[in-house]
């Protein structure tokens, strides 16, 4: 049999970003033995790149804030398609999760009275984002990494071994989940360094693998974002929901070409930066959609006053939810009012003193200076939309983060529902903490409830190993040899151009045809060299995940004949109340294919609990809901 290194744990967490680390901490604190597996070095997960902040209604900057306001903002941002229970838990628990980080050693920026400072962000009624300059994600990752170290130090004292109960498996990629009688029994993968295989025998797996951005050409995401967790869950029999909703962040760098897509934090606008077109016009005032009319300032004077007096003035439309801003920029560029390199201008230089810009946005200052030769304290930045975040993901139970497969849990960006059709900035970091913890708890309770642990079948291990080395075998008969890099580029290009920020039915059909072609060619992917740290091989294995996830996105997008949040259709430009409570569910048939076929089905959402529904005024709900759905609203009955 293939040589495989074996380990046994109570819980295996796949992913060492914010969600994964928080799950690890929780499960270990419940007394279980935990492994955490990640593709990069420990501490380098995507979360490290998050800039702006972490949303929590602590009310430090404005005492009017509370969970109800946060809940309402989140539901509005997601155009009422969110899983309301997740949005509720998130809004209620986020403050505790942030305060907890301080007990681990986090150092957030402070208010004058010594509490955690909070900044403005798009779609949030009050300044709500706990932050550290513009490197909040780094603070989160490092804090939890250091908390894990402290747990290991306790284990060292108790058991004489740092790794007795909690071990990090870094630069290790999981390629397959294993099951016995429908329950999770283990996870199979390889060490990137040596190419050697590794097997985790475990009754519980928490997926915290992040997003899918590497399926698009222009993206703020790193090579890790190949949708592994999404694909692993599908193949294990779990469902994905909301895959048509992909967030294009309005402000990515557009020049030079090699950095196109790299993120410019929304914090720039939160701190006073404004968007302008080539004519110098602050164009966002022309793009306030009907559902938000009345909530945003309609003139520059009021918008500018809002930064200092948020209670008496309405906020600037520069801070509309991301989908709105991204579409507005797209239109400006299309209509010929773009910047020289195909974006628009983001101006902070004329709005804040140079010192203040450098203090509040140090890494943006650094990034533009070093990578684009632009001094943001003197000149405007050029920015344009970039693929940033996937709202869609694994369908989970809100309270326990359990998927439909016993033993499989998911949290963070790879899970779905919480953000509905569009995520508000800052709501991801808080999501990671709230649901990372809940996934750790959910997995721990599940493990404790088991009478017998499922076993890993040898045949499954052999099969997983065979699939993993297939790219070295050369192309199958009749299939041409393919270079993984070329195939990846073609996939990214078609997703970008055909299932991007503005979608049309014929273009999506073209993308689906292209994906079918790639599906045929993927069997021919061949790599050179050996298994030791071989990026070509790694890409070949990631490619099948990207393809599977791209098919989900394209098929679901074609199916949803309306525009909502991160899904905009030229041929169906309106939001349709009939679609509001419908979820598109992706699943795959149980098969041995490298990339199994995707099925899409619509299913209704559970109606919102009455007390939560009553947090909204009828007049607002009427913009989103059908008549029937609102029959029980007290304002209706009165």
């Amino acid at each position: 049999m293939t040589e495989v290194e074996r380990h046994s744990y109570d819980v295996v967490v796949i992913g060492a970003g914010g969600a994964g680390l928080r799950a690890v901490i929780e499960a270990r604190q419940r007394g279980l033995s935990v492994a955490v597996v990640c593709k990069s070095l420990f501490g380098k997960a995507h979360t490290v790149m998050a800039e702006g902040g972490c949303a929590a209604s602590m009310g430090n900057a404005n005492a009017g804030d509370n969970w109800q306001v946060h809940f309402r903002d989140t539901m509005r941002g997601g155009k009422f398609l969110n899983n309301w229970r997740m949005a509720e838990l998130h809004a209620k628990e986020a403050p505790d999760r942030v305060w907890e980080l301080e007990t681990y050693g986090a150092l957030f920026d402070r208010t004058a009275d010594g509490r955690i400072s909070q900044r403005n962000f798009g779609g949030h009624t009050y300044p709500r984002l706990a932050h550290v300059g513009d490197r909040t994600g780094l603070e989160l990752i490092r804090t939890m990494q250091q908390k894990i170290v402290s747990l290991q130090q306790e284990d060292q004292k108790r058991y004489g071994d740092y790794e007795a109960k909690l071990k990090v498996f870094a630069e290790c990629t999981v390629t397959e989940l294993l099951k016995e009688d429908g329950r999770i029994s283990g996870a199979f993968g390889y060490w990137r360094e040596s190419g050697r295989f590794i097997l985790f025998e475990t009754p519980a797996v928490v997926l915290a693998t992040g997003g899918i951005g590497k399926s698009f050409k222009v993206t703020s995401n790193s090579w890790e974002y190949t949708g592994d967790g999404h694909a692993l869950a599908l193949r294990a029999g779990a469902d994905l929901i909301n895959m048509e909703f992909v967030q294009f962040h309005p402000t990515g760098m557009v020049w030079p070409p090699s950095v196109k897509g790299i993120l410019v934090t929304e914090g720039v606008r939160g701190d006073g930066g404004v968007l302008k077109n080539s004519q110098g016009e602050r164009f966002m005032f022309r793009y306030i959609p009907d559902v938000f009319k009345g909530q945003y300032a309609d003139n520059e004077a009021e918008a500018d006053r809002w930064y200092d007096d948020a209670d008496k003035n309405r906020r600037t439309p520069d801070l509309l939810p991301r989908d709105e801003v991204a579409r507005a920029i797209n239109t400006e560029v299309k209509e010929g009012r773009g910047s020289p390199h195909g974006g628009v201008f983001l101006d902070i230089a004329s709005r804040l003193p140079a010192d203040e810009i450098r203090r509040r946005l140090p890494s943006m200052y650094h990034q533009f200076k070093e990578l684009a030769d632009v001094d943001i304290t003197k000149e405007p930045m050029e920015v344009g939309p970039t693929c940033h975040y996937v709202m869609g993901g694994i369908e989970v139970d809100p309270d326990t983060a359990a998927s439909s497969v016993p033993g499989l849990f998911a949290a963070g960006e790879c899970s779905g529902g919480m953000h509905g059709s569009n995520r508000l900035g800052g709501n991801s970091l808080s999501d990671l903490l709230v649901f990372g913890r809940r996934a750790g708890l959910g997995a721990a309770s599940y493990v404790e409830s088991l009478e017998r642990r499922p076993k890993v079948a040898d045949a499954d291990v052999t099969a997983a190993a065979r699939t993993a080395v297939a790219p070295f075998d050369g192309a199958r008969d009749g299939v041409a040899e393919e270079n993984p890099y070329t195939l990846h580029t073609e996939l990214q290009q078609s997703m970008n151009d055909l299932v991007g920020i503005i979608r049309k039915s014929d273009e999506m059909q073209k993308a689906i045809d292209k994906l079918a072609e790639i599906r045929r060619r993927i069997c021919g992917v061949t790599v050179e060299g050996h298994r030791q740290y071989n990026p070509g091989w790694h890409l070949a294995l990631d490619l099948r995940n990207m393809l599977l996830v791209s098919e989900c996105v394209a098929h679901a997008a074609l199916r949803r004949t309306e525009s909502r949040g991160g899904h905009t259709r030229d041929d169906h430009p309106q939001m349709d109340a009939q679609w509001r409570n419908k979820l598109l569910v992706c699943s795959v048939a149980d098969s041995d294919e490298v990339v199994p076929d995707v099925t899409i089905a619509a299913k209704p959402q559970e109606p919102m609990r009455q007390d939560l529904l009553e947090l909204f005024e009828l007049s607002e709900l009427e913009k989103y809901y059908t008549e029937d759905e609102l029959a029980d609203h007290p304002e209706r009955k009165a």
């Binding site: 990069s40 070095l41 420990f42 501490g43 380098k44 995507h46 490290v48 790149m49 505790d96 305060w99 907890e100 301080e102 007990t103 050693g105 150092l107 957030f108 920026d109 402070r110 010594g114 509490r115 550290v132 490197r135 780094l138 603070e139 490092r142 250091q146 908390k147 170290v149 402290s150 290991q152 130090q153 740092y162 360094e193 790193s222 090579w223 890790e224 030079p256 070409p257 090699s258 950095v259 790299i262 993120l263 140090p362 890494s363 990034q367 070093e370 990578l371 684009a372 993984p484 890099y485 790599v527 050179e528 060299g529 050996h530 030791q532 740290y533 071989n534 990026p535 070509g536 091989w537």
Partner: protein
């Protein structure tokens, strides 16, 4: 705009390796990492390199360019002339795994040896109060992206494998300083900095500060103040007496 750049890249593994010459296209605005990626995609698909963010935020792509420790994603091609051969080698202080990828586990081992943040016992979550001026000092050190370039460059371990056990390196000595300066940390870390983590090996040459891509003033703001605190404690007569008595009792 584009031109053919000359790259000399170290290729090999822990056993052996050598510098290999390549010619690869370079375009306006590109960084060395872009060229390495182009090499991967067009000429050497199995060329090993670490990277994640491509924006100087994750500290993955550390290597040496013309002998200087640098982040590959933040090294612009425009700082070199078009006819210059650019040499890219792995970090020298750490064992090579393959090509530009090194075994940096030394750093994770050191991280684990530093006692963790110790908050006051009676302080509940949500009750932490700190002033911006007080957190700012430690915040500077928390900007660290753990690229390990300072560790790579520090002469105490750069060609002195034998010092690695006793010396935590600038990154982790700075971590001790960070906790020491944390407004709410209650542990006293001064003695251990000297005895367990090798602060005494540092002779403040500032080489670490010079290569830090985050421009953290490692030497001036962390190491020197830490040395001063250690000196204060060690020569404080009461502490000195206390240590002696404790030792006598204990022994």
């Amino acid at each position: 705009m584009g031109y053919q750049a000359k790259l000399r890249v170290w290729r090999g593994d822990d056993g052996s390796g050598d510098l290999q010459d390549f010619t690869v296209e370079a375009n306006e605005g590109e960084v060395v990492l872009d060229l390495i990626h182009r090499l991967q995609a067009t000429q050497v698909p199995d060329l090993a390199v670490r990277w994640n963010c491509k924006a100087g935020k994750c500290g993955s792509c550390s290597a040496e360019v013309n002998g200087r420790p640098r982040l590959l994603c933040m090294t612009r091609m425009s700082i070199f002339s078009e006819d210059e051969t650019i040499t890219v080698t792995p970090m020298r202080t750490f064992p090579v795994i393959r090509d530009l990828v090194t075994d940096v586990s030394y750093n994770y081992t050191k991280a684990r040896e530093i006692p963790s943040f110790t908050p006051p016992e009676d302080l509940k979550p949500g009750e932490y109060r700190m002033q911006q001026v007080d957190v700012q000092r430690s915040q500077e050190f928390r900007k660290c992206i753990e690229c390990f370039l300072c560790q790579d460059t520090c002469h105490v371990i750069r060609d002195h494998e034998e010092n690695k056990t006793a010396f935590a390196g600038p990154r982790y000595l700075m971590r001790i300083a960070e906790l020491e300066m944390h407004p709410l940390d209650v542990a006293d870390r001064r003695n251990e900095a000297q005895t367990d983590h090798g602060l005494g090996y540092c002779n403040i040459t500032k080489c670490c500060t010079e290569v830090c891509p985050e421009n953290i003033h490692i030497t001036d703001n962390a190491l020197i103040p830490m040395k001063e605190r250690v000196a204060d404690r060690r020569y404080d007569p009461i502490v000195w007496l206390g240590n002696k008595l404790f030792r006598r009792n204990g022994g």
